[in-house]
Structure formats: structure tokens, C-alpha cells
């Protein structure tokens, strides 16, 4: 029998969904997160924002998107389980309201900051942006 001591761990990637009235940018991302741009710890959320922007796989603007295409078809090819029924319902609402949708994945294999937010689970919303990070569960 072999006995392994020390860490045994696996890596993971977890999905996120952002729905916005306007184009997503750092200013409205900071506003959603509740941090001032001149915060002494702004760097943490700048890196979070950059990780999100760099990992958007699907961007849909429902103002100009073909209404005939069902929402489910827009996410074909994504890993099963990465987009929950809750997320799909949110996308359907976004389609109805003509909003912008960003869908992507964060990885635990990248930077310390991305790994942290990849493994956190949250759902936040203000009057401009909805951010679903609920699938971020290990």
C-alpha cells in the first residue's frame, strides 16, 4: 500500500454570468462591488475585473441579437452544469429587456486573485449590473 502525505488537490474552473444595461467597464464594476476607485485595496478588485474581462467566452447584446434564436442555443458547447437554470432564466429576462450578457469562466490555476474569486460564491446586483458567481462552489 502506498501512502501519500501532504496535499492532494484538484484544480477547477467555475462559471460566471453578468447582465448589464450598459457596456461593462471598471467604473460600473467597482460601483457594483461597493468599492471606491481610490480605495487603498482597489488593486484587488482591479485584478478581479481584469480576470473577468479576460475570461468572457460569450458576449451577447440583446438589443441587436436575433430574437428567433432560443437562449439555450446561445450557450451550446458550454460544459454541462456550468450554466444553471437560474442563470438561464436570468438570460431570458435579459433578452426580454434587451440587455447585455457576459458569460465566462474563472480558473483556480491562474493568479492568486483569480483563484480566490473563482472559489467564492456570490450573487450581487445594483440598478445597472447583475453578477452571478453562484456556480463558484467547490
Amino acid at each position: 500500500m502506498k501512502i501519500r502525505t501532504g496535499f492532494v488537490s484538484n484544480s477547477s474552473s467555475t462559471s460566471f454570468l453578468i447582465i448589464a444595461k450598459e457596456e461593462l467597464n471598471q467604473a460600473n464594476f467597482f460601483e457594483l462591488m461597493g468599492i471606491d476607485t481610490d480605495s487603498p485595496i482597489a488593486d484587488l478588485f482591479e485584478q478581479f475585473y481584469q480576470a473577468v474581462i479576460q475570461n468572457v467566452n460569450i458576449k451577447i447584446d440583446f438589443e441587436v441579437n436575433d430574437e428567433q434564436v432560443p437562449v439555450e442555443a446561445l450557450f451550446e458547447g458550454q460544459r454541462r452544469g456550468d450554466i444553471s437554470s437560474h442563470m438561464l432564466n436570468k438570460v431570458k429576462e435579459a433578452k426580454h429587456q434587451g440587455l447585455k450578457v457576459y458569460f465566462g469562466m474563472l480558473s483556480s490555476e491562474e493568479s492568486l486573485i483569480e483563484s480566490f474569486f473563482c472559489t467564492d460564491s456570490f450573487e450581487v446586483e445594483n440598478e445597472k449590473i447583475y453578477f452571478n458567481g453562484l456556480e463558484c462552489v467547490w
Binding site: G34, D36, S39, P40, A42
Partner: protein, 165 residues
């Protein structure tokens, strides 16, 4: 929730130094100075740990305000959890020594050396701050991003440390 509703004098003796709410507010409004000493990776938890020496009590509202985050938001929750980890859940070594361990160890440096097996360099650095610090906190962060070099830089920015105490 104010510091007074969560920390009662009965289990947080350091508050007993303040006879009224006004005195505490006066203390937290004075300038905050702190020292962060990284202790490296703990072999049992595989996490980095720190000693934080601070010259005044900080309540949660002041902590969030200095970090420029809004209560009730994602960043606010993150900082509230961090506040709780540092100021509520961590060991406060100065208080513990004065209240309990001073009977067993005749000096603070002997206490932290023998009880926690800190290196002589760390013992000396902390002991030098004993008189200046209101609290000396032994902090084991749960947040993953507080590991490695980023953790030290983050805590220094958070406590606005440009130099040591």
C-alpha cells in the same frame, strides 16, 4: 452593528480601558499606526500567518471607511469578514499575556517565545512594539489571496502602513 453590540467588556477586557463610548470613538478617530510582521507558512495549516501590532482600537465602521468600501456590498462583506477574522477571532497576545500568562511568564518576550515558538528575530521585533501597541494580534487569514507576498502588501495598504510604528 457597532463594536459595542458585538464586543462586551465581559469578554473583551481591553474595552474596559474605555469608560464610555465617547472615549472609544475618540480613540478610533485618532491616527492609526500599525506594524505587520509576516511569520511565513504555518506547517500545520499550510497557510501564511502574521502578527499585527496596532496603536489604537478600530471598530468595524472605521475599518470599512478607511478601506473605502460600502457596507452591505460584496466588498463591504469581504472587509467585514476580514475585520472579524483579525479583530474578533484572532488571538490578541498582549491582552492574553496581561490577563493570564503574566503569572506564568515574567516577560512578554518569554511568553511569545515559549508559547508560540516564534524566532528570536520576531520575538525581538514584537517585544519592541509592546509599549506602543494597544493590541498585538496573531492573525491566521482564511482568505486565500492573503497568502504569499500579496498578503503583506494588501495588509500594509489596508492599514495604510508607510513605515513601522
Amino acid at each position: 452593528m457597532s463594536i459595542f453590540s458585538r464586543l462586551t467588556k465581559s469578554w473583551h477586557p481591553i474595552l474596559a480601558k474605555f469608560s464610555s463610548k465617547e472615549k472609544l470613538i475618540s480613540a478610533v478617530n485618532s491616527s492609526i499606526e500599525a506594524i505587520i510582521l509576516p511569520l511565513g507558512r504555518d506547517s500545520s495549516t499550510w497557510n501564511d500567518s502574521y502578527l499585527i501590532g496596532i496603536n489604537t482600537l478600530i471598530d468595524e465602521a472605521t475599518f470599512l471607511s478607511k478601506a473605502k468600501v460600502k457596507s452591505g456590498t460584496y466588498a463591504g462583506e469581504l472587509l467585514t469578514n476580514l475585520y472579524n477574522e483579525i479583530f474578533i477571532q484572532s488571538l490578541e497576545l498582549k491582552r492574553d499575556y496581561l490577563d493570564y500568562y503574566s503569572l506564568e511568564y515574567d516577560s512578554f518576550d518569554k511568553y511569545i517565545r515559549k508559547q508560540f515558538l516564534f524566532t528570536p528575530e520576531i520575538v525581538s521585533a514584537v517585544n519592541n512594539q509592546f509599549g506602543k501597541c494597544c493590541q498585538i494580534i496573531y492573525f491566521h487569514p482564511n482568505y486565500y489571496f492573503l497568502q504569499e507576498g500579496y498578503g503583506v502588501e494588501f495588509l500594509k495598504k489596508l492599514f495604510d502602513i508607510k513605515g513601522n510604528l
